[in-house]
């Protein structure tokens, strides 16, 4: 009687080959990556007469902070009778909330980023980046640094995009305790100073 046995030669062959290759590549990777040190070129800050255009990056999404809309809405909120000092109010702009600090700065709190641009190619953000005049303006990014929903990657993409267009940029990390703040006047000592970076 002839028995129909399953031939496992091919299977064994495949598995042993795969395992061998896996080990080989793992060893190669460890040897190659273990000794490799990446050189990261970091642009340096400098004082400049260029005017900052502000962007907010969070959860790998980015939004341009339209100064006129933001400030007009903040003033409207602050003029309301129900307004109390240090109140956090809606700016009616991209789900960003505002807070006026001692009449010299507007703090920006971002929670929901669903309406923001998820890529640099999005026309909403690319238009804003393209509009920047390299001779008069530079981009300043407020980048959320949370480990779960930071904006590091999209910030780097935007910076690279601007670099190709010869537009300077600067940035600072922000979070719940240190939210983004835009000063009404530049000469207030307590105010943040916004610097572009050379080559950045």
């Amino acid at each position: 009687m002839k028995l129909d046995l399953i031939n496992i030669n091919s299977l064994t062959d495949i598995i042993s080959n795969s395992v061998g290759i896996l080990i080989l590549f793992a060893v190669l990777n460890i040897v190659y990556e273990g000794g490799k040190v990446y050189k990261l070129e970091v642009p340096l800050e400098y004082e400049s007469s260029l005017i900052p255009a502000f962007f907010l990056c969070k959860d790998n999404a980015i939004v341009f902070l339209e100064p006129e809309i933001i400030f007009i809405n903040a003033i409207l909120q602050a003029n309301k009778k129900s307004y109390h000092k240090q109140d956090i109010f809606s700016l009616d702009y991209m789900d960003i909330k505002g807070q006026i600090v001692e009449d010299y700065a507007l703090l920006l709190h971002a929670n929901d980023t669903s309406s923001w641009s998820k890529t640099i190619d999005d026309s909403q953000i690319s238009d804003a980046l393209d509009r920047l005049d390299s001779k008069k303006q530079f981009a300043f990014f407020f980048v959320y640094d949370d480990s779960q929903n930071n904006g590091f990657e999209i910030y780097r993409q935007a910076r690279q995009y601007l670099k190709q267009r010869h537009v300077k940029s600067g940035w600072q990390p922000v979070n719940k305790n240190h939210p983004a703040s835009i000063c009404f006047w530049g000469d207030v000592p307590a105010c943040n100073r916004y610097f572009p970076s050379r080559g950045g």
Partner: protein, 197 residues
């Protein structure tokens, strides 16, 4: 006898492509999987340099982490500066050379990277030291200038702002050039300082 040398009838050689294809696809799969895994998870060792730094500019790296910072001062280039200044030294510059040697010795001692909590004392000390070296190099026409590069890891914004706030209180220290870079959590420092330079 004749039968012995007769050829067998040609039945047609059947070659199955299955083993070859399966191995090929397996290898491809494993390869792409490893590559993806490697690029996503493998920690990358990094060193930061100034983008526009000319030959004589040297980076003093400060890596901000969630609960402190790691200072990575330049050592090799400072040792070169020390050798140069020793060869050109006269009696007046002897005490200055000793100061460089002290700084160098201190930096060598702290080669084991340790996490520090920023405070007024340690931050001003770092920046005063950098400023002193820069002034010394400038006065003696030596091609050497240190600047500070901050590496910002996720959740380290607090530490960075704390350092900047200390610096803002000391305008005399603001002459040192500063740069900052956002670092992902899988970017790691080299564990020995000599590799960093």
């Amino acid at each position: 006898m004749v039968k012995k040398y007769q050829r067998k009838p040609n039945t047609g050689l059947e070659i199955s492509l299955f083993p070859f294809l399966s191995i090929f696809l397996c290898v491809m799969g494993v390869l792409s999987f490893l590559n993806l895994l490697n690029s996503a998870l493998m920690p990358r060792k990094l060193v930061m340099t100034g983008e526009v730094a000319q030959g004589y500019k040297v980076a003093y790296q400060i890596f901000c982490q969630a609960d402190g910072f790691i200072a990575v001062p330049p050592i090799k280039r400072l040792a070169d500066l020390n050798t140069n200044s020793n060869s050109n030294s006269n009696s007046n510059s002897k005490s200055r050379n000793e100061t460089i040697q002290n700084i160098l010795q201190k930096r060598r001692q702290q080669q084991k990277l340790s996490l520090l909590v920023p405070n007024e004392q340690n931050i001003t000390k770092i920046f005063q030291e950098i400023q002193w070296l820069n002034d010394y190099a400038r006065q003696n026409n030596l091609l050497y200038e240190e600047f500070v590069l901050f590496g910002i890891y996720p959740d380290s914004g607090e530490i960075y702002h704390k350092i900047r706030n200390i610096l803002d209180k000391h305008p005399e220290l603001l002459g040192v050039n500063i740069g900052l870079e956002a670092l992902d959590s899988n970017w790691k420092l080299t564990d020995r300082l000599e590799k960093v330079e």
